[in-house]
């Protein structure tokens, strides 16, 4: 990788880190919702992830049929699907 390529990569990573830091800092200023007021968020229809998300099988299908994967956590490897 040349100097220009290194600088481009470094700049992109620094920008990403800055955005994350800004988001994290900004979140500290969000209104705090008390645990007792989070009943709606715990409803099953909000689909908060449990230990084994039902998204896994859908993600497995999409990752075997489309050229891009990632952006959502999951276990990879052999997919056992008819690629």
């Amino acid at each position: 990788m040349g100097a220009a390529g290194f600088m481009k990569t470094f700049t992109m990573r620094a920008a990403a880190a800055a955005v994350l830091a800004a988001v994290a800092a900004g979140l500290g200023g969000c209104a705090v919702v008390k645990a007792a007021d989070r009943g709606y968020l715990a409803e099953p229809i909000m689909e908060r992830q449990d230990h084994f998300s039902k998204q896994t099988l859908a993600q497995k299908f999409f990752s075997s049929r489309e050229g891009s994967i990632g952006g959502a956590s999951g276990i990879g490897g052999g997919c056992g699907c008819a690629k």
Partner: protein, 387 residues
């Protein structure tokens, strides 16, 4: 390694085993998890316009061993059927016995441990292994999760290392293996915005090295003499993928429904870029019955080395070539419907069926189609117990 041909009676036996074995494990383990834990049992059927079929059965368990220690176990079995080869380049399957359907089974086990440290920190480690006749994957995953601002914010970091063996079944029946290594880093941020709204932001980076092409796919190349020759696909030996996702989940108390929207942007060093947008509505029909409707749109560019046709002797030697449609530009649409029945009405506190209080049964149907004339139907049946 030799290939086990699956024929006649034992084909039926294997299919039955795929469905029944996890069910037997499920039944056997049930009495052991009377306490804090979650169990799930899922069946998944897939068919597509290319006559490929996949049947998957999975069983998973999260069992609390100590106050802050949880054991995680996931077992998954697949049975895959790929039709006979009818085109020159064929499907992703061995050329051997190409007039017959190719069938194979796959097993997967994930074993992990999750440990809470204090009130706000959780660490987890998992070991993953999957095996099929022409693919073996071994993986280790580590996760650290930190709750902040009175648990209104959760930051999760994840690292994963995969060491895979990509096999090719030869005409002789032997399997020729090549290595693929995958390094994954991910950061996820969840933020409660209000009593009815929660936001998720995620970023993944994945570095791949080794055999990144499909060992079965072949490319037709027009050589300098004007003839056509078939050569194996050749992809670069490294690839770095990036993906960022934002998701907003909104509960709507007035109609007892949730609306979940997400957007994902992906880019990689093969110049594939993609956009994914998804919107889902879940609505209580009755106190315990939920109807869901889902739409997903996806579009991607092609890789820098994809061409509709390859001409020149260089492409029979060291120049990259592909017939993998996942590296071509296309768009897709996916429609989903789901029906979930919560069993909490059957599990009154203090009764023998109290374990049903947080349990559910779910039936899901997806219809997928893309601009390459490919379509698929997916049916998923899941039973989940939280006991």
């Amino acid at each position: 390694m030799r290939v086990c041909e699956v024929t006649g009676g034992n084909r039926v036996g294997r299919r039955a085993a795929i469905v029944l074995l996890p069910a037997a494990v499920f039944a056997a383990v049930s009495p052991l998890v009377a306490g804090d834990g979650e169990m799930g049992f899922t069946n998944y059927y897939f068919t597509d316009s290319g006559a490929n079929k996949v049947v998957t059965t999975s069983f998973n368990l999260a069992r609390k061993l100590l106050e802050q220690t949880t054991l995680l176990l996931d077992i998954e079995l697949d049975h895959v059927t790929v039709p006979p080869i009818t085109a020159v380049t064929g499907a992703s399957r061995p050329q051997r016995d190409k007039s017959q359907p190719f069938e194979k089974s796959r097993g997967q086990v994930i074993l992990g441990m999750e440990q809470g440290i204090g009130q706000n920190l959780t660490v987890a480690a998992s070991f993953y292994r999957s095996q099929e006749v022409d693919y073996i994957s071994t993986s280790a995953v580590g996760t650290v999760s930190l709750d902040m601002f009175r648990k209104n914010t959760t930051l999760t970091l994840r690292g994963q290392y995969n060491a895979d063996k990509v096999g090719k079944i030869l005409e002789s029946g032997d399997v020729y293996n090549q290595n693929k290594f995958v390094y994954t880093g991910a950061v996820d941020l969840t933020q409660v915005l209000s009593p009815t709204t929660v936001m998720d932001l995620a970023y993944d980076v994945v570095r791949l090295k080794g055999l990144l092409s499909d060992p079965y796919l072949q490319v037709g190349v027009i050589d300098d003499a004007g003839g056509s020759v078939l050569v194996d696909e050749l992809h670069p030996g490294t690839r770095t993928r990036h993906a960022g996702t934002a998701r907003l989940s909104q509960y709507i108390p007035g109609i007892r429904a949730s609306l979940i929207g997400s957007y994902r942007y992906y880019w990689d060093t093969w110049y594939v870029k993609s956009h994914t947008a998804e919107l889902k509505l879940n609505k209580y029909i009755t106190k315990d019955l939920v109807f869901g409707v889902d739409y997903r749109y996806y579009t991607q560019t092609g890789s820098w080395f994809y061409q509709p046709a390859y001409a020149g002797t260089g492409y029979t030697e060291s120049l990259y070539r592909t017939v993998d449609y996942k590296l071509t530009p296309f768009s897709s649409n996916n429609f989903g419907l789901s029906l979930s029945f919560m069993l909490r009405g059957l599990g009154a506190p203090g009764s023998d069926f109290e374990f049903l209080e947080n349990s559910s049964i779910e039936l899901t149907y997806f219809r997928y189609f893309n601009t390459l004339d490919f379509s698929a139907d997916i049916v998923q049946f899941a039973v989940k117990f939280s006991i």
